[in-house]
């Protein structure tokens, strides 16, 4: 019982009851202590119920009675099955209190069992850290600014604040490709003129913000790429670089198409040609800047027309310059005249320009027409040439036949033999071809099969790779999770109070278990002893019975003949009866002894219940209640 009591008292202390150091047993609990312990436990188990109860016993007797009743009610509500009432608390006896306290301690919520095995998420960890920080800051007293130590300065005088303002940074590396591809000028700029990142932002305060922002954007871009690569890129069976360049080309083509669709040349407006030429230039530069987009370099109509206008431009300029030089005004003329003259000149020149541009357009149209006609003519030429060659071959055949005509017979035979020979040769060649063809076709089929097999295998491998990727990612995540859990548990373990009670508990439990084992062994030994004894007794009684029966029979046979033997028979019967009586008496004594022991035990337990002292207490309390009642009655009478 001592062990149980110690464990009980330890748990009660943890629940918030202050139990004196010298209280070691439940026997030593006073009524006040019991009430306090029960109320504390109830508060921990169910705060709603427990908060309505006061942990101290009131002085008035009737109030005490009420407290006892409500406590008993609360315990019964919790599911306590034993006998309980106000007397349990006010007039305690040890076993009842012990069983009640054991019930309550078992009901105490066990946090340790519920502490999750899964790692607390990042947010939970963060919240914990925040809580710890707030707790630390709450523990520090506020100090006026002139008293602050550096310790306080961190939290109590925050210093100047500013917003998160990131600025774009110029980086000495390219995110898109390896550095070798960059042009020499860019490299020189990086080497010689680029400022270090920490001096790039205009304000000191945006340095960390810009750096962090830059890093986060790079990270998220990498993540996006990873996602895309895993979902689409891997299936395309290209290397990452190829995939990237192909994607870029696709995008470029789309942009080009869009732009071109938007910039269809409209012949009705004069400015249209100009804007399209600008656009084509843009498209050209766009294509030139990125390697691979060489669709436009073949030369479209825009580039042609552009070239055309560019070649025309210098001539025109030269002409205009000459005209201007010839019309240079003499300095004698007045300014107004000069102005008027200039305006006139300007309008004339503009007119000329317009005329010229109209001419230009006409000429351009002419040229277009002419090129079209040139095309037509060259096509015709080709057709004619083809026809010509056909005719020439015809003529040659006919010439030969005419040459052969004089010796027709001979030549006919020759020709026939020739035809036969050639037909034979054809057949021969065909058979040969067949001979060659079959293995080739077989080979082809085999290769095809191989190819498809390989393809299947590669797709299988691809899916395997994908699975592997997934697995890798999963395991990495798991490892990370486990690591964080480990870290968290370690910190938790460090913060836990270094209580030796656990090992002491286990030690004690092991001791108790050992004791119980020993006791069990002893019990079984005693049991087997008793069984042996019982067996012996049974054997002896059987032997006795049998001997008696045999003797009885023998003596009875003789008794018919002899008178003295009859007497001895009577003695025998009397002896047997007396012996049975004796055995009976011994058995009775044993049972009575057992009863006595039982009764003694009962007496002890009754003594343990402190009945006498409790009765005395009850009497006192009864007197107190009567006194209170009489006082109240007197008050009523006075009132």
């Amino acid at each position: 019982m001592e062990e149980v009591d110690r464990i009980l008292i330890h748990s009660l202390r943890q629940a918030g009851t202050d139990i004196d150091e010298d209280v070691q047993r439940v026997k030593q609990f006073s009524s006040e202590l019991i009430v306090q312990a029960v109320v504390r436990c109830l508060r921990v188990i169910d705060p709603g119920v427990g908060s309505g109860l006061s942990p101290t016993l009131p002085p008035g007797m009737s109030a005490r009675f009420r407290v006892g009743m409500s406590l008993a009610q609360a315990c019964q509500d919790l599911g306590y099955k034993g006998e309980i009432g106000y007397q349990t608390f006010l007039y305690s006896n040890e076993p009842e209190i012990r069983s009640l306290l054991m019930f309550l301690v078992e009901k105490l919520p066990r946090e340790s069992a519920e502490v999750s095995d899964q790692p607390a998420g990042k947010s939970a960890l963060l919240q914990k850290a925040i809580a710890a920080q707030i707790k630390a800051q709450l523990a520090l007293p506020w100090l006026p600014p002139f008293c602050r130590l550096p310790l306080h300065r961190k939290t109590q005088s925050p210093g100047p604040c500013h917003n998160f303002r990131a600025q774009p940074l110029s980086l000495p590396y390219s995110l898109k490709g390896p550095a070798k591809k960059q042009s020499k000028e860019v490299k020189e700029y990086w080497r010689e003129y680029l400022l270090p990142v920490t001096s790039q932002p205009s304000q000191a305060t945006s340095v960390p913000a810009s750096l962090l922002e830059n890093h986060v954007s790079e990270l998220s871009a990498a993540q996006d790429w990873e996602n895309e690569w895993n979902s689409q890129g891997l299936l395309s069976r290209l290397t990452p670089e190829d995939y990237r360049s192909r994607k870029r080309m696709r995008l470029q083509k789309r942009i080009e198409e869009q732009l071109r669709a938007a910039a269809q040349p409209r012949p009705d407006t004069h400015n249209a040609t100009r804007s399209t030429s600008d656009l084509s230039e843009l498209l050209n530069s766009f294509a030139g800047a990125t390697a691979g987009g060489d669709v436009l370099t073949k030369g479209t109509r825009f580039t042609h027309s552009e070239k055309f206008t560019f070649t025309q431009e210098p001539e025109k300029a030269a002409q205009q310059m000459a005209a201007a030089a010839s019309a240079l005004p003499s300095s004698h003329q007045s300014e107004e005249d000069l102005k008027a003259q200039q305006e006139a000149e300007l309008s004339a020149i503009q007119q000329q320009l317009q005329q010229l541009s109209v001419q230009m357009e006409e000429v351009g149209g002419d040229i277009r027409q002419l090129t079209v006609s040139i095309h037509q003519v060259s096509d015709e030429l080709k057709q004619r040439e083809v026809r010509n060659s056909e005719k020439e071959s015809n003529i040659r055949v006919k010439k030969q036949t005419i040459d052969l005509l004089p010796d027709a017979e001979n030549n006919l035979i020759k020709l026939q033999s020739l035809v036969e020979a050639s037909s034979k040769r054809v057949v021969h060649l065909a058979s040969q071809w067949e001979k060659h063809r079959t293995p080739l076709i077989d080979e082809h089929r085999r290769l095809k099969e191989l190819c498809s097999n390989r393809e299947m295998e590669s797709s299988r491998k691809l899916s395997e790779i994908k699975d592997l990727h997934d697995k890798i990612r999963q395991s990495a995540e798991e490892a990370k999770k486990k690591e964080s859990l480990y870290k968290q548990l370690i910190t938790e373990y460090e913060t836990l109070p270094k209580d030796v009670s656990r090992s002491a508990y286990t030690m004690r439990i092991l001791e108790i278990v050992g004791n119980i084992k020993k006791q069990k062994e002893e019990i079984t030994k005693i049991l087997s002893d008793t069984k042996d004894l019982q067996k012996e007794i049974n054997g002896l009684t059987g032997k006795l019975d049998r001997t008696f029966a045999v003797t009885d029979e023998l003596v009875f046979k003789d008794a018919k003949k002899d008178e003295s033997v009859r007497k001895s028979y009577k003695y025998l019967a009397a002896l047997h009866e007396n012996c049975t009586q004796l055995i009976q008496t011994i058995e009775d004594t044993g049972s009575i002894m057992r009863e006595i022991r039982d009764l003694e035990e009962q007496i002890e337990t009754e003594n343990g219940k402190k009945t006498v002292s409790n009765l005395e207490k009850i009497l006192e309390d009864y007197k107190a209640i009567r006194q209170e009642n009489s006082a109240l009655a007197a008050k009523i009478r006075e009132g």
Binding site: Q156, C161, Q203, A209
Partner: protein, 195 residues
């Protein structure tokens, strides 16, 4: 700690003893820390040891180092985190130790730098009040209502801890509301601390 590819590349360059020896590494790391803490820093690499390096690579390393430092401080990384992530990048133990020493030395200042990225309302440091009781005014003969003139002394970080005053008047109900709100705030703070 999650690091982007460019940062990883820059740090790997730093870890390479063929590129930077230990002494130059220490000088470079010191320069990176000081470049974060002081501004303007026109010549971060103004050391004879770093003069004959490839400057563009050095700048890349500088970005990587500063980003790593800021991320570490942002996540309040402890020794094990810093060391393990540096060792993953093939830093030898001497460099890790050198880096961690500097990190430890500058951590509080860097924390201050990062925590200054925020807007913070002024702190109330003191309060004084006056109770006025209005018996009547020019419109109403009998008013008989109390009013409170409250003056908060506040301290804000923006102008170097100088205190300023915040005055207002309120009725009894408004004052009760204010007090109730403050109590609520204090209570929720305590609740947050007990998590």
């Amino acid at each position: 700690m999650e690091l982007s590819d460019s940062v990883v590349k820059g740090l790997q360059t730093l870890a390479d003893p063929a590129y930077l020896d230990l002494k130059s590494f220490t000088i470079f790391t010191e320069a990176a820390f000081s470049s974060l803490l002081s501004f303007p820093t026109g010549s971060v690499f103004d050391y004879p040891e770093l003069k004959n390096m490839d400057q563009s690579l050095l700048k890349h390393c500088h970005i990587a180092a500063t980003t790593f430092i800021l991320e570490g401080v942002k996540q309040n990384a402890d020794r094990s985190t810093i060391c393990s992530s540096l060792e993953d990048l093939k830093f030898d133990s001497e460099r890790v130790d050198a880096f961690y020493m500097l990190y430890q030395k500058n951590k509080t200042n860097l924390e201050k730098l990062l925590s200054s990225i925020d807007g913070c309302p002024p702190h109330i440091t003191d309060v004084s009040w006056r109770l006025d009781y209005c018996i009547k005014n020019s419109h109403v003969h009998k008013v008989n209502q109390p009013s409170y003139l409250i003056s908060f002394n506040t301290e804000s970080g923006d102008n170097n801890g100088a205190s300023s005053k915040l005055n207002f008047s309120c009725t009894l109900e408004q004052l009760q509301d204010l007090v109730g709100k403050m109590k609520d705030a204090a209570k929720s703070l305590e609740r947050a601390a007990q998590l």
